[in-house]
């Protein structure tokens, strides 16, 4: 079983609106993959389907050969595009929560990262700025030693300086066999870390290539190719 994630004819409709249309994909282990597309192209829908937060209308997803469920949740670390933490909790409470429920959670790593970003573990979430909350969530998600990380817009809300640190954090905290899928529409900042890109447009995959292939075949950077494909 070489691929960490496979999906066949995956379709998700909300009422009449088709958010994801007949997507078939194989994602190998040990890669960093950018899921790129404009707003409302189906990026979050795809990631939520993989995390069992949405039920597919048609098709199938297999993560490590299994359908999304308890077993896949043990090996997938998911960063949603929204704040999902209890506002009244302290950072240290939430670290305890993650330790209690995830066997692969590394507490020392979490405290180390909090320390480096000057976040006080005794602080309550509700006293924090939006950007700080996002950092806390990313630290929690990256402190797991997971096989698949699915990061939905991990750099959307933070300033460029913190963005660099976050990308370093992502790169510095996963092992070689793990795969990272990250969705974004801010491409220039992350282009340098990606192995592969998937372009998604109106719920369909329009391109699925390695970054090297793109450079060789088109002579363009991912960013300029993206602007070309998604020109309004």
């Amino acid at each position: 079983m070489n691929n960490i994630l496979e999906c066949k004819n995956l379709t998700k409709a909300f009422g009449n609106k088709v958010a994801l249309n007949d997507v078939t994909l194989s994602i190998p282990r040990g890669r960093i993959i950018g899921l790129l597309g404009p707003n409302a192209s189906g990026k979050s829908t795809f990631i939520k389907l993989c995390n069992d937060l949405l039920t597919p209308t048609r098709g199938e997803i297999l993560i490590d050969g299994k359908r999304p469920g308890v077993e896949t949740k043990k090996i997938v670390s998911y960063l949603p595009e929204r704040n999902y933490l209890n506002e009244w909790m302290r950072v240290s409470d939430i670290v305890g929560f993650f330790r209690d429920f995830y066997d692969d959670f590394n507490v020392e790593k979490a405290y180390d990262m909090l320390n480096r970003l000057d976040i006080n573990p005794r602080d309550k979430l509700k006293t924090m700025s939006k950007g700080t909350k996002e950092k806390v969530q990313l630290i929690l998600v990256m402190s797991r030693e997971a096989q698949l990380y699915m990061l939905d817009e991990p750099i959307g809300g933070v300033d460029p300086a913190a963005r660099d640190y976050i990308l370093d954090t992502i790169l510095g905290n996963y092992n070689e066999n793990a795969t990272i899928i990250l969705s974004t529409h801010i491409i220039s900042d992350i282009e340098k870390i990606l192995d592969e890109v998937i372009f998604i447009k109106e719920g369909r995959i329009v391109l699925n290539k390695t970054v090297d292939e793109i450079r060789e075949e088109t002579g363009k950077s991912v960013d300029s190719l993206f602007r070309e494909v998604f020109r309004c």
């Binding site: 039920t55 308890v70 949603p80 704040n83 999902y84 933490l85 209890n86 009244w88 429920f101």
Partner: protein, 263 residues
Amino acid sequence: MLAKLMKYEIKATARLFVPLYLTLLFFALFNRILNPFEMLDSAESFNLQVLFSLLSITAYFMLIIGTMVMTLVIMIQRFYKNLLGDEGYLMFTLPVEPWKHIISKFLVAMFWTVLSFATAMCSVLILLKVDNLFGELRRLIEQFTELFGRYALFTMPLYALIYLASGILMIYAAISLGHVFSRHKLLASFGMYFALYSAYQIVMTLYLLIFGRMIFPSIMTGSAPAFSEISKFLLSLCIPGILIMLSNYMITNIVLKKNLNLE
């Protein structure tokens, strides 16, 4: 995992319930010392003392009602916000089966509902200044057994607990069913609650029509029921209660397991 979920559920709710209970008990004690009822009795005309007594009594009763309302509101909010709102993104990506989320929320809601009731009773006892409390309680139990029979001491609480459980699970089922709708989820949840309520009323009516004669013969003859009959009647009503409870649980579980859509 169920124990861990319950631990966090208790943590999340205790910070709301404990201050509420303490306020209620404090107000009961305050009213006991102030004794506004006696002040009202002894007052000859409307004065500041009377006004203050009235306010104090009103505040106490508002607090009792408030405790009951808050118990219900927190129960609904914990299910709706923590599982189907933004926090659900965390809860449903934990490596935990959906039924454990339902059961942990349910058991903790049962616990707080019983405790809210017990705290309200305690506050009444504080307020009433009962001399020889245990003697009075024993007398109360004696009177109860005289009216309903000894077995009713067990069958009546059992009956109450089963219907409380099916009531809580019915709220969960209604919220879950409402969530299946793509729009107006909250409105749909209310609609679903009334749909479920009507359906269960029909079930209960049919049950009584079919089995009523068998389990409660004195209804037919118009004579006073025997003690054993009362308990038998309560126990027999537990059967549809348990069925309704199971049906509510299954509806909730199917939606959360097979039809979850956090948008």
